[in-house]
């Protein structure tokens, strides 16, 4: 298997090189044979996926069969490791995760080349760019971090997987995150391709937008799965710590979000072409920069298992990518002239512009805070730590302003918004937001604590967004209700089907504010820690925990100590919780298994911290974290909205079968086009 794996990796590299070189020759050559050469390049690109997939399968096979002759398998698995984690071993270490990146990139490349008939020339250029990136990852995986390195002697058992990674989310969190990171290479390839070939019109941006949405969806889900993992495993009661690795995933997310908004300006009004091209470039470069920062070890991170010497490779990749982007931009920038200019500060365009500015300001602030320890070391000779206090102070106001723009933007008209239209659109949402603000002001006492003030603002602005989104659905639904002769909800359904992008976008906005509602609860977190014997009580918030029993367990994979705690809320028994502390045998590392009682209103989060070495009594720490479950619900809504936005409009699907000319007297059918047929 190591031989097959190594051979396939070299084969994949050769195929990628061929795809790149032959692809370029085919594009620059006008000879008739160039077309056939281009086709061979495309097929070589597709075959790269097969070769990389076989290499990845060889590594997984080795993990499943406990082949400890491979150094990678020895260091990341052991015999007692459950099967799903053996599969997850593919992305649990440096070399495997690089192979996984290469695999995902080749999979994206396969789909891209498969769909080349959409626009042969654009796809041929994009295929060449993508194969350039593929070559980088395959060089890495062949020469800097080969997962098929063989041991001199074979051990009976492996060292096991990092216990922090032995958690269900860890089986899907890295693939999701990588699908997001790697996915950003596809819009980058299209953007660069369109710039190189001076692509006429805006079709390329429509193609790119869809790919960006897919990558954005994966990145969003990946980030929040990571947050959920941190919440469930690390045992500190939080889900986001502004660690450099977390920031590295957040940076391309912010710039991709900015792109998904500003791209509408280009589609609708031919504006912001330079901006959009650079947003795509920056998003890809940030993906590489994030990887460079975390893999090189130049910034300290709790994700220490990801550090290695491959940082220099990523630094080179970053530099070369930037130079290539800058070269083609300077060469072909005349192609990116805007067709229109911004005419008013109170318009849909300006709201997109502000949204982009704020998102990029947020992106810069996160990057600045992440890099500042290195800058400090360069300037003053010593590092400082930039942690949550800085990021929270800077990012919370920025986030709240973004929520405000989320409410205001969709209600503004293109080009210019009149005062009358603003009054009509904003009256009801403003009243709803004001009522929520007054209620929060009375109950939260925001003058006592800045966190309470932010919480009040978050809930009020969320109410503003929810009201505007609801009104948009309601107004659109009312218009269609009469025409379709259906009830309001049916009309809203068809409204969404007719313009999936717009109403899917509103659902995404709704999901985002639900996430903000979840974040608002953090201002009211409570926690308590104490030693607890049998029958002892711990009171936190309106919960009372009673220690029933403390047990030890021994499995082939780990030893564990756990507590059995009865939970009472306002004197009523609600359930029993079993927080646990595991010590994994192979790695000799401890790991918390947190017990969580989750309700829509709050989470009771209980950690068994182990025994006090002096008294030998168990230590229990309990948190009451309000509204946390809305974070996860918000992500699901966001994913649903993105999925809807990706679906083609109903009218477009059915348009081939509709013949409105046959029923000219029926104004309803004529107005609805294909909708009549779809019903």
């Amino acid at each position: 298997m190591p031989l097959i794996g190594s051979f396939c990796l070299l084969l994949a590299l050769s195929l990628s090189l061929y795809c790149f070189v032959a692809g370029i020759i085919a594009l620059v050559n006008r000879h008739p044979a160039a077309l056939r050469l281009g086709e061979t390049a495309r097929r070589a690109g597709m075959a790269t996926f097969i070769a990389t997939a076989v290499a990845a399968a060889a590594l997984v096979w080795a993990a499943m069969n406990n082949d400890y002759s491979l150094a990678y398998i020895l260091h990341h698995t052991n015999r007692a490791l459950p099967t799903p984690y053996k599969i997850a071993a593919l992305w649990s270490g440096q070399e495997g995760s690089l192979l996984f990146w290469a695999l995902l990139l080749s999979a994206y490349g396969f789909v891209l080349r498969w769909r080349h008939t959409v626009d042969r020339k654009l796809y041929a250029y994009a295929s060449v760019v993508l194969s350039g990136i593929q070559i980088f990852f395959l060089l890495l995986v062949n020469f800097a971090g080969n997962p098929f390195g063989v041991m001199d002697s074979v051990r009976a058992d492996g060292f096991g997987l990092n216990p922090l990674l032995q958690y269900p989310e860890m089986v899907i969190h890295p693939p999701m995150l990588y699908l997001g990171y790697v996915g950003m290479a596809v819009p980058f390839a299209f953007g660069l391709a369109a710039l190189i070939m001076k692509y006429p019109g805006e079709k390329w941006i429509q193609i790119t937008r869809r790919w960006t949405m897919v990558a954005w969806l994966f990145l969003t889900v990946g980030i929040f799965l990571g947050a959920h993992w941190a919440y469930g495993v690390l045992g500190w009661g939080g889900y986001w710590g502004w660690d450099p690795v977390e920031n590295a995933s957040f940076l391309p997310w912010l710039s991709a979000t900015a792109f998904l908004h500003s791209v509408m300006m280009q589609e609708k009004r031919g504006m912001m072409k330079v901006w959009n091209v650079w947003l795509i470039f920056v998003t890809f470069l940030l993906s590489i920069l994030g990887t460079f920062l975390t893999r090189s070890g130049i910034v300290s991170s709790v994700h220490a298992f990801a550090q290695s010497s491959i940082g220099a490779w990523f630094a080179w990749m970053l530099g070369i990518s930037f130079v290539v982007c800058l070269f083609f931009f300077l060469k072909n920038r005349s192609h990116l002239q805007s067709e229109n200019k911004l005419e008013s500060l109170v318009s849909r365009e300006s709201s997109f512009m502000f949204n982009n500015l704020v998102l990029l300001a947020a992106c810069f602030a996160v990057l600045w805070g992440t890099l500042f320890p290195i800058i400090s070391e360069w300037v003053r000779g010593f590092k400082i730590t930039v942690g949550p206090p800085f990021f929270n102070k800077v990012m919370i106001p920025v986030g709240l302003f973004l929520v405000f723009l989320t409410a205001v933007g969709p209600l503004l008209a293109w080009r210019k918004t009149s005062l009358a239209s603003m009054k009509r659109n904003f009256a009801i949402p403003a009243v709803v937001a004001l009522i929520v603000a007054v209620v929060c002001f009375v109950t939260f006492k925001p003058w006592q604590d800045i966190a309470h003030f932010y919480s009040m603002m978050s809930l009020s602005l969320s109410a503003l967004v929810i009201a505007t989104v609801t009104l948009e659905f309601y107004r659109g639904g009312r218009v269609l209700q009469g025409k379709l002769n259906t009830n309001l909800f049916g009309a809203m359904y068809w409204l969404t089907r007719r313009n999936t992008r717009r109403y899917g976008g509103y659902i995404v906005h709704f999901g985002v504010v639900v996430i903000f509602i979840g974040l608002a609860g953090a201002a009211f977190n409570q926690d308590k820690e104490q030693e607890m014997g049998q029958g002892d009580k711990l009171v936190v918030g309106h919960y009372e925990l009673v220690g029933q029993k403390y047990t030890d367990d021994d499995t082939p994979n780990y030893e564990s100590q756990s507590a059995i705690l009865d939970v009472y809320k306002d004197g009523q028994f609600v359930r029993t919780l079993y927080p646990e502390l595991r010590a994994y045998k192979a790695s000799q590392q401890p790991d918390h298994v947190v017990a969580i009682r989750s309700t829509p209103l709050e989470d009771l989060y209980v950690v068994y911290e182990g025994r006090n070495p002096d008294t030998d009594r168990p230590i229990i720490k309990a948190f009451v974290n309000p509204l946390v479950s809305w974070l996860w619900i918000g992500v699901l809504i966001t994913a649903l909205g993105t999925g809807i936005a990706l679906v083609p409009n109903a009218a477009q699907i059915k348009s081939p079968v509709t013949v409105p000319a046959m029923v000219p007297s029926d104004s309803r059918s004529a107005a609805l086009g294909g909708l009549g047929a779809t019903r």
């Binding site: 045992g235 710590g241 200019k341 730590t385 930039v386 800085f390």
Partner: protein
Amino acid sequence: MRRFIFVFMLLLLSAAAFAVDDARFQARYNDLGVRVQCACGCGQALIQCNHVGCTYSDNMIRQLRSTVTNFSNDEDVLNWFRRQYGSTVVTEPSTHGFELTIWVVPPVLGAAAILLLSFLVRRWRLRAALAAPMAGDARLTEFRSRARMETEL
């Protein structure tokens, strides 16, 4: 009776003053406790470090309590920890010297970007106002189709 009321009021005021002091102490302790990280290397805020047997957190928490009592200024507390454990122990950069730049640069750049945008919009509007009025039926058709596209009708 008046003396009793006086003593009662005095006791009440003292209790209130102690309660306010205690609440202020607790607020400062909670605030500073997340601005200092545990020196054990776990990367967690001092008052959130949950490693059993951590050889740093108990002592550091005691030091935090005593410094919060002894120093009225938060920056003095943080400086005490910087001197004791090195500059990386504080997770919030200070607001003076070189570290001030971390706070100043993002808002200054943000404000500059907004000013630049406002300036550009004004210039574009001025240019649009000076542009010749549109004419010709062919162009009107083009504008109508663009309006349809832009208003999503």
